[in-house]
Structures are given as C-alpha cells and as structure tokens.
Subunit: 529 residues, 2 copies
C-alpha cells in the first residue's frame, strides 16, 4: 500500500458524474498483410489480458478512509483482478467509418470508471473499413498523465514491422525493459517532494519565504490580478464569458484529425515561433470562427490553459508531473498574422517566468495559482468563474513509424478532459511525421465539434497565406526540406478559393481532395461523432 500524491488525488476530488476525470487515447492501426483479422485481434486481446504483475498502478485499486477522496488516498494491490472486465472487445456498426468510430469513443469516454477496481479500461475495436482496427485506452487522470500514457503506449510498439511483442504493455516486465531503454545511464532529476506540494495552503505559508523564485512568480501573477499590464495571461483573470464557459453535462463528443508535422512547423517558423505557437494559433482561429458562427464571440480574448511537462527526462514513474501556463489566444484579433504574434508574445512571457523556476518550483507555483480551480470544479461553479476558456495540450510522441506486432500505427489521438468553464479540450500528439489531434468537448455546450476540424484547417491555410507559404494557385511553397507525404485537407465551404485550388494542377507532393458538395473528407480521420 502506498499513498497517492495529492496532485494525483486532485483528479478524484474534482470528479463527478457530469465531469469524469479520466484521460484516453484512440490508436488507429492497419492489419498486417495476409493475416486473419479475428485471430490477429484475439491474439492481441490475449496479450492485453496478461494478469501477472502489472506496472503501477494498473494492478492496484483505490483505498480511501471515511473522508473519501478528500482524505488520504492509497493504492493497494487488487487481489481479484478481473482482466475480462478491463480488456474489452468492441465492434463498430456498418459501414465502419471514422464517424462510427468517433461515435463509439465519444460514448466510452463519457462513462465513469469503476472505483472498486484498477482505474483503466482497454478496448479493442473491430469493424473499421480498409483493414484498419483501433484501440481505445482509458485511465483515470489520478493514475496517468499525457506523457506517462505515451511512455505506456511506446512500450508496446516497435519500429520494426516484423517484431513480435508478446508481453502486455501494462506488465511490469514491459515496464522494466522500457525503463532500461529510456533511462540508460542518464541520472534522474529529482521530482518535487510530496510534502512540498501536499497542501497548497501549507506550501504557501512555509515555502514562500524561502523559495524566492516561486515568490517572485506569485508577485508577478498577483500584480496582474491587481491590474498591472503584462503580456502574460494568468488564470481567472479576464477570462470572458463564452459558450465554452459553462457547466458541463455528462455526454461527450470526440473528433480527431492529423496534420503534417512539417506543415505546421513551417507556419511556426514563418512567424519566428515554434510548432506549439502554430498549434495554438490553429485552435485559436478555429474557436474564433466557431463562436462567430454562434454569434457569441466575446470581445475579450479567450484564454487557454497549456499543460507544461516538468517530468524529468528518465522519469516514467510519476503519474502527474505537469505545470500549467495560461495563454492569451487573441481570439478578438481579426488578422491571423497579428493573432499568432500576440499568442507567441503571451506564450513567451509565460515561458520566461517558468525558466526562472525549477521543475519542483513550477509545480508548487501551478498548485498555488490553480488552487481555486479545484474549488470551482468541486462546487460546480467553474462555468461562472472560469480559470481559462479551453485546454490546449501538446504531448511529444514517437518520432518514427511504429508497429504493434506488425500492425502499422496510423494515428494516436488523445482523448482528454473538458472542465466546467472549459468545455472543449484540444490535445495533440506528435507522431512520426504527423500531428495527431484529438478534440473532446461537452456534447451539449459545443454542438458542432466536427466543424472545429474544418476551421483548424482554414486557420492554418490563412496563416500560410499571410506568411506567403502558399502560391496564388493554392499550392503550398515547399519551405521545409522534407515534402509532406500525407494528404491534407482544405476547407472549401466558407471560402470559394479552395475549389479553384483543387482544380489547379497540384504538385504530386500535395494532394488536395475536394468533393462536389464542397465539403472535404479529410483523409486520415475526421467525421461527426
């Protein structure tokens, strides 16, 4: 039995039937050539059902005292592990498009985990078109964060299509093999001590005097709360009312889509920024368009919470090692180029502040500034006092093409958590030469999640146009060394231009598909859920 750190237990305390606090991941695969789908999947199922020693905490269940999650929480070994319960075989109804897949994932993501068992489920999903299949993995956020779920998934994949991995990614054995690979001889950085982050109030009292950096950061934040002018956004400050600032209902809607890594990075570079700045700008542009559609674009800019991993390089053990920064999305700025510059400025200010702090100081600082979030979530007042408008999270994934027992990994789409007051979550994983976006939102507050995908593409095109990355005939200039191998999509509904683009003779490196209806079906994954 071991005590759960309070930073993990936060997610148990914040949870309600309206706001489940688990994270998920949808992975898409293509069956190896020539195999029989039923027996191939049955074999994967058997691998996943391994019920020997599991990595922590996947063989452990919660143990709470009379105060429930508000009191001390412990993990203890589950002696009655029932793998038939945790590993589930599911199927899609015909015709087995991404639409049916996203619909299933939306439903699976909206239901609570059973707290009397280890807090995870793994779904093997058959019935997709084109010899594809999928897995949807769901685990409580008190047990895993984005980066540690990447570590978990990575241990089951190989860069070699011929490698057969017979051990479960959840097994202690897989964990130990992977740990050796990852850590090698690098000395591990020290994680924040439990007592440093246990009680935010105590930390504030005891640590602020001695921890100069945290004190300085707090002074800056407090200064902005008091009205000091700064490019930096801070939680709870000037977060406008919008359709996103609402109390959630229990149902979710999930959509996913991939973009070329090089394409998005080129946009970042063109504005002297990073890939992440471009990601933020894509989401900001899409939210602006979406709220304009609903005639509900607030005058003040939306603010995004961006989790920042403070995980030490070799640390694959901590469940949550995340700090948070607040970013101004400049959704009140019409000009796309000006918008991305303002986003970058806000991001840079936050980064400067973070750079002055150590990993453990960042977590302490995050704990202090986010503490009111816990309160507003628990009382259901997050809709009235939003800490931020949305979450945009960027998780590094594998850099090479991966295979799972010969099945090609086609996409790994995160399925994260919307909060009261932040009804949509954008999480992106860099996967080989692509960026895999997963967007999950409250089904009621954000009625047309699938449109966000189209609007993100539109926003990206606008940024490319403004930076001169596209020629007038609609082709993108090949600014990066590698030509994009994957097809991209063009939004053709709102603007008449792309239709002309589709007709224009595209270079072989860029495939644009436009349907007669004027709506583009993205190649990888985009559909209504």
């Amino acid at each position: 039995m071991r005590r759960m750190p309070i930073t993990d237990a936060f997610f148990l305390i914040m949870e309600s039937r309206r706001t489940p606090m688990h994270v998920g991941g949808l992975n898409l695969f293509t069956l190896p050539k020539g195999v029989d789908d039923a027996s191939f999947l049955a074999n994967l199922g058997n691998i996943l059902k391994y019920d020997g020693e599991l990595r922590r905490p996947f063989g452990e269940k919660l143990k709470m005292g009379p105060l429930g999650a508000a009191g001390p929480v412990f993990w203890e070994e589950d002696d009655e592990l029932d793998m038939e319960y945790h590993v589930r075989h599911s199927a899609l109804p015909k015709p087995g498009r991404y639409r049916e897949l996203f619909s299933l994932v939306s439903r699976l993501h909206g239901t609570l985990l059973d707290r009397s068992r280890p807090l995870w489920e793994m779904h093997l999903i058959e019935g997709l078109q084109n010899r594809q299949f999928a897995t949807y993995f769901k685990a409580h956020h008190c047990a895993i964060d984005g980066v540690s779920s990447m570590h978990l998934m990575s241990s089951m994949y190989s860069t070699n299509a011929r490698t057969k991995v017979k051990i479960s990614p959840l097994s202690m054995e897989a964990y130990q093999i992977y740990k050796k690979q990852v850590q090698g001889d690098t000395p591990r950085r020290v994680n924040p001590r439990e007592d440093e982050i246990r009680a935010v109030a105590e930390v504030l009292k005891e640590q602020l005097g001695s921890t100069v950096n945290v004190a300085r950061a707090m002074r800056e934040t407090a200064g902005i709360w008091m009205g000091k002018k700064s490019a930096m956004a801070v939680p709870f400050y000037k977060v406008p009312k919008s359709a996103l600032s609402t109390q959630l209902t229990g149902a979710r809607r999930f959509v996913a889509q991939s973009w070329d890594f090089s394409r998005v990075r080129a946009v970042g570079k063109a504005y002297d920024g990073t890939l992440n700045d471009a990601v933020m700008a894509m989401c900001a542009g899409a939210l602006r368009k979406q709220l304009q559609d609903q005639r509900g674009l607030p005058k003040q800019s939306l603010k995004a919470m961006a989790p920042v991993s403070v995980r030490a390089a070799g640390d694959i053990d901590s469940s949550n090692a995340v700090g948070m920064v607040c970013v101004d999305l400049a959704t009140n700025v019409r000009d796309p180029a000006r918008r991305i510059r303002q986003i970058k400025e806000s991001m840079d200010a936050a980064k400067t502040q973070l750079k002055q702090m150590s990993a453990r100081e960042i977590q302490v600082y995050t704990g202090i500034t986010q503490a009111p979030l816990l309160l507003t979530q628990m009382t259901g007042m997050g809709g009235r006092f939003p800490a931020f408008s949305t979450v945009i999270s960027n998780v590094p994934g594998p850099r090479e093409k991966r295979y799972w027992n010969g099945a090609r990994l086609d996409g790994m789409y995160p399925v994260s958590i919307p909060f009261d007051g932040a009804a949509a979550n954008f999480t992106v994983v860099s996967n080989h030469d692509r960026l895999d976006f997963g967007i999950v939102a409250c089904r009621k507050s954000v009625p047309h999640v699938q449109r966000l995908i189209d609007y993100m593409e539109e926003s990206l095109v606008e940024l490319e146009d403004a930076a001169g990355l596209r020629t007038k005939t609609g082709r993108r200039r090949n600014t990066r060394k590698a030509a994009p191998k994957k097809a991209t999509t063009a939004k053709t509904k709102a603007k008449p231009k792309p239709k002309a683009k589709a007709k224009a003779k595209a270079k072989p490196k860029l495939k644009l598909k436009a349907k007669a209806k004027g709506k583009t079906r993205p190649k990888r994954a985009a559909a209504k859920s």
Copy 2:
C-alpha cells in the same frame, strides 16, 4: 412542468455511481426473410429517432432545486432533444454469439444515464449470428417500471408479420393509439393520491388512524419484527448474511434464458401453486446451489423481495405503481418439494395480507415498511442491513407471437436493478409460450452469474422429478395440453444422469442437447457475459 411523485423520485435519491437505478430490456429479433440487414436496421433507427412529441417523460428532463433529488423534483420539456444521442447503433465483435451480446449489455447496463437529458437510451445492436438482431432499451426507474416498459414495448409490436409500424414507440401518437386499444371503455381505477404517499412519516401519522387496513398490516409486520411466529416474511427480519448481502460495485453481469411457459406452470400446478411459485422455487434452488458452491449457504433462509403491480387495468400513465412483498425462499431446506411448499406458504401469507388492502393502501404500506431501505441504500449500509437477499420479479408480457415491422420477436429479457444487500436480480417476462428470464448481478459479488442459469434448469428438473412429471428415462410427462415447442436444456455437469437422457431416444416433442464437454448450450440464450 409537472412534479415527480415521491415514489418515483426515490430512485433518484437512492442512485450512486455504484448503484445506477435504471431498468433495461434486451429484445431479440430475427430479420424478415430476404431483407438487407443494414437498410432494415437503418430504417428502424430512423423510426426510433422521431423527435416530434414524445410520450411522457421521454421528451422531458429533470429539474431540481438546490436540494437536488432530496427536494421537490420536476419534469420539464427538453427543448434541445438530441435523438442522435438517445438512439444508438452498436455492434457485436465476432463471432457474434449470445456471449458477446450479454457482455455488451452488461457494460451498457453498468453506466449512469446523463441527468441533463431525458433519462433513456435505445441501442440497436447488429452483428448477431443467424440473422438475429437486438435492441437494448434503458430508462431510469424514476420514469418507468416493469409493467409500463411492457406497455411501451407492446405499442411497437404487431401480431401480424406483415404490419409495418412507422411511428416510434416513444411517440405521443403511438401512446394514444395504444391507450385506446388497451383502455377501451373500461373505467380506470384511481391511483394513490400523491399526498397519500408523499412523506412516509406524514402518512404514518395522519393516515394510520383512519386507514384501518394499513394499520392492521403494520401491526402484523410489527408483530413479526417483535418475534411473533408467522409464515409471512417481512423486510429486514431474519435476512441472513450471504454473498448477496454486500455493498455493490459499479460493474454488472447479465445473462438471459428462456423456459417453456407450460413446463414451469405444470410444476406450479403439481404443487397446488402458481406459475409464480414455481419461478420462485427455480430461483431459490439456483441460489442454494450457487451459495453451496461458494461454501457460503447461510443457515437461515434467503428472503426475496417480489414487486407486486398495483397498477389499475387501464393505467398506462403511472411511472411506478408497485407494491412489494417479502418471500421466504426456504434455501435452508434440502428437499425441493418441501422447499417449494414452504415458498408457497410464505407467498400465500403475503397475498392474504395484500388482499385485505386496496391498491393505494398497498402502496402506503409498502412505503412504510420499505422506508428504511431508502436510508440504507443512501448511506451505503444496505450490505450490512439487508432488507432482503434478492429481488424476484414477474412481469406479464404479450400472449401472442409478436413482430416488429416483420422482424420476429424471439425474446424479451428484462435487465433490472441489484441493490446494496441484494446483489442479484431475477426478472422474468411471460412472452407468448415462453418465460424470458433476465438475471443481472454485481460483477464482483456474484462471480459466476451464468451458472445460475444452469442451476435454475437443474432445480426445475428436481421439482419435476419429485412431482413425477418426468419418466425414469428422463423424459418429461406430457401433463399439459400443449406440447413444449421450444428446446429446453439439461444441466449435465454435476449430475451424470442427463447424459444418459441425451442418449435416450427422446420424444420429438422434447429436444435435449448435450455437448461432448458435458456443458449444454441452451438454444435460445445462455452464455457467459
């Protein structure tokens, strides 16, 4: 907006993430000859997605005050009805046996309904073998009880395979047509007045003086609580500790099976009892065997709660019109014939008491004696102070073969609610010439639910043997006018006899199937979930 009766709101108050309070029904169909499955199901889906005026309360959502379900609760029109959310298309993984179907239903039944929407879901399930398909309907018990769900389902079926019903069973139109058919000119009995049953304490105080019959019933019950000897079982009295008397976990396991109506009724008659006595004895025998397996058969007999419909003949409007009686299952009696007689005696005592009361008096009396149940469920202490050991419920269904737009209705299996302290629920629907049993239990407390099916068959055979309804070669004597048309199953594992039976030349009217492994695959539906 209309106020929800307190008897309905009970189910909202009692609900937790461990103990969802919805009821369900799994209906099994065979596709009409020659139709394309995908388009036939798509058409049914479209019928179900009708979003015009719906019968109450399927177009309404909850409205609660600051006290939540503990305060007054109202139904109000849902202006944002999202039928794509409520009507869901699902599929079974290969090979699409009943095992996969029960597994899916177990999962679907274990998740909570979204309280921000009308409290129901309808699942169309494809992927079954032998051109079958299924529906699983789930609705909150505050909105519907067993009998009213039968009324709901009946309005979508026809006795004619050629009849096409194009309106949704949930529509107000279907409701009005059905209401006319059912009620005709019969005058409606009056339902209990809301104020009579609103606050049990008030009722106790105000009504007991004047309502002689309730007072007499209470005196009898109190007498038994005080130790007076009686054949009648009363809630909370001498309910033994067993594997069933436990706090539930969130996960469920569901199995279903059909028996010939005439076969079970013959057993009832043979002991001068009713079909229901035989049903009780089948369940009692199965529970006795199951607890013996676990070396946990209590010395005192298990007690079953049996809901008794007090619905007026033409009343298809009340959500809940149910009284409850407590039945001694005589699980401590070894001899099957003695056991069924003791069950019958206990049931008769309860009936005698009920007969002295009017429908409204039964509901008042039930409210009073069951009030502590609400308390133990809300505090999670139902495992320590069980009101009864299990629920055994018998709901009358259609008497003729039914069709849904030409698809033959092969079975209608109820999926009901286990409680803290009563971890398994047996509900049976009489459907044409069969009895369709649905058993749902806590996945953790009742580990081998599928065995209950085998043990029920064994118990039935024992009762037949003891009554001389079977010849020595294992054939059942044809005591009833109608020969059983459906195959029945024989348990061949524990007892060597049935194997010999299988070899014996059976009359054509009785088919016994025994597999080499010694385990029988029931014809209609029985498998692990």
